[in-house]
Amino acid sequence: MKSIYGFVHVREKLMRGLFLACALFSVVALATITVFLLANGLPFIAEIGLGEFFGTRWAPLSDTPAYGILSMLVASLYVTALSVLIGVGIGLLTAICLYKFCPRWLVSPIRQMVNLLSGIPSVIFGLFGMTVIVPFIRDYISPSGVGYGILSSALVLGIMILPTIVSVSLDAMQAVPGSYFEGALALGSTREQATFRVMLPAAKSGILAGVVLAVGRAIGETMAVIMVVGNSPEMPVSLFQSVRTLTANIALGATEMKGDPERALIATGVVLFVFTLLLNTSFSLLKRDKTEKDDRKSRRKGKNSTPVAPAKPGSAKEAQS
């Protein structure tokens, strides 16, 4: 008997070590990536100076090389902002429609299709943008006759982030107690008034968390953007003009550049990394703010309080991939 106990004991110890190792793995990975980025990127930025690094001329392979990423930074921000505007606009209305305003039997199929959308590889979005959206904008909308650019990218990205917005907002709204909705109706509100004046504000922080996730996805998306943004490293002055985002810049140069140009790309990565860090921090702050509020509430009201609109961890993972 004793030997069996010993065996069980050893096995348990082994398993626990394995679990710990696995858990540490992602920590190590994160640390390595961070160190790699900072160790290679920061010295380079220091070498050429902030002024040059945030300059507007990007010509790493010219005889008088310049490594200014400002125009790409601005392009990234433009593309992201516009795509989030489009995605949040359409996505929020979709979620509201699914919440109370479409026939019950339609909710599940629409939701599943929206989820399917999130499973499509980004290169396919890029392909679609290249062959449908870009020509359409070129032929019917663009005043300059250029289809590539900020508008095309924002449309493609807007579609890509729809699933995140829809599912997170819908979850957030459905987590709001139905008694609020009933209460509003019982006071004579229409369904629209009840939704917009009570349910939506109550789901606000959950929805906001979804928007932050979407921003993260939009700013980090690479493949689809490369295929529709045009990729000229120029300062954006129009929606219809070939520009280049930070992600595209890195991906385009990564395979062929060596030496200083390569370090310039890593430095670009540092900037992107900082953005992601900021977004993630604000996401956790939003979530923590929420949970704390709920905690305080449930402590006061006893055990049967319903948490309002938690952001689904599942959606978080999906949106950051």
């Binding site: 019950r104 107690p177 008694s179 609020y180 009933e182 209460g183 509003a184 109706l185 019982a186 006071l187 004579g188 509100s189 229409t190 008034q193 004046r197 009570v198 504000p201 109550a202 509430k297 006061r300 009201k301 309002v308």
Partner: protein
């Protein structure tokens, strides 16, 4: 406002929850509905402000008049009906916004925009619900920070702000402590000077304390409906007697 119900039948899908109910409820009285759980009290109450419209598969027959108006008529605006027939729920459900915004909700819904007028309605409603003194210094604070009893009185004030003629209350004190319950009962006696109150209650003492008339429901039927005094002192139906003497329910 008088309420008049004739031949009321209600089905949830195939299940008949109310069976041929006839009832007249008079103005400026408190009417209590009693009966064992699941006998249809809430269901009947919710017909009166048409909250059953929200329930899928709910089918209603019969005729229902409030102040002489057919509440299921095509020309009846259900939102106006709900404004006129306020409702207080079992579990207090203040909105997650400030106390002020909770009370101002109905007036705003019906187009009151002027700050001065909203202020007046908010104060007036809170006073009528005798909670003004407790909250007047924290009108901008979240309503969720109040105690359960205060929340329920806030919900009453919120309903009063819509200026209803009738107030429906579905077990409004069942989640509250005795002191809060006492406050709400006192409030009801005040309010019945100006409006008709219909209250569902599990608590027979409560019915005898506050109700002018009492209706006993059993398995979807209205068994007995009379003045509270008569119903509790000499019930005519055996089932009523069994229930009020505590033999079932």
């Amino acid at each position: 406002m008088n309420i008049s119900v004739r031949n009321c039948n209600l089905w949830y899908g195939d299940f008949q929850a109310l069976k041929n109910i006839n009832m007249d409820i008079s103005n400026r009285e408190v009417t209590a509905f009693i009966g064992p759980s699941g006998c249809g009290k809430s269901t009947f109450l919710k017909i009166l402000n048409r909250m059953n419209d929200l329930v899928d598969g709910c089918r209603i027959t019969g005729s229902f008049h409030i102040g002489g108006v057919d509440i299921f008529d095509k020309s009846t605006d259900v939102n106006l009906l709900r404004k006129k027939v306020g409702m207080v729920f079992q579990k207090p459900n203040p909105f997650p916004m400030s106390i002020y915004d909770n009370i101002a909700f109905a007036p705003r819904t019906f187009g009151v925009r002027k700050k001065a007028e909203l202020d007046r309605i908010v104060e007036d409603s809170l006073r009528r619900a005798s909670i003004w003194d407790e909250v007047k210094d924290r009108l901008k604070k979240s309503a969720l920070g109040m105690s359960g009893g205060q929340q329920q009185r806030l919900c009453i004030a919120r309903a009063l702000a819509a200026n209803p003629d009738i107030l429906l209350m579905d077990e409004p004190t069942s989640a509250l402590d005795p002191i809060s319950t006492g406050k709400i009962e006192a409030l009801m006696s005040e309010l019945k000077q100006e409006l008709t109150i219909v209250i569902v209650t599990h608590n027979m003492q409560q019915a005898t304390r506050i109700a002018d008339k009492t209706a006993f429901f059993y398995l979807g039927e209205l068994i007995e409906y009379d003045t509270t005094e008569k119903l509790f002192s000499c019930p005519t139906d055996r089932r009523t007697e069994n229930y009020i003497t505590g033999r079932f329910g």
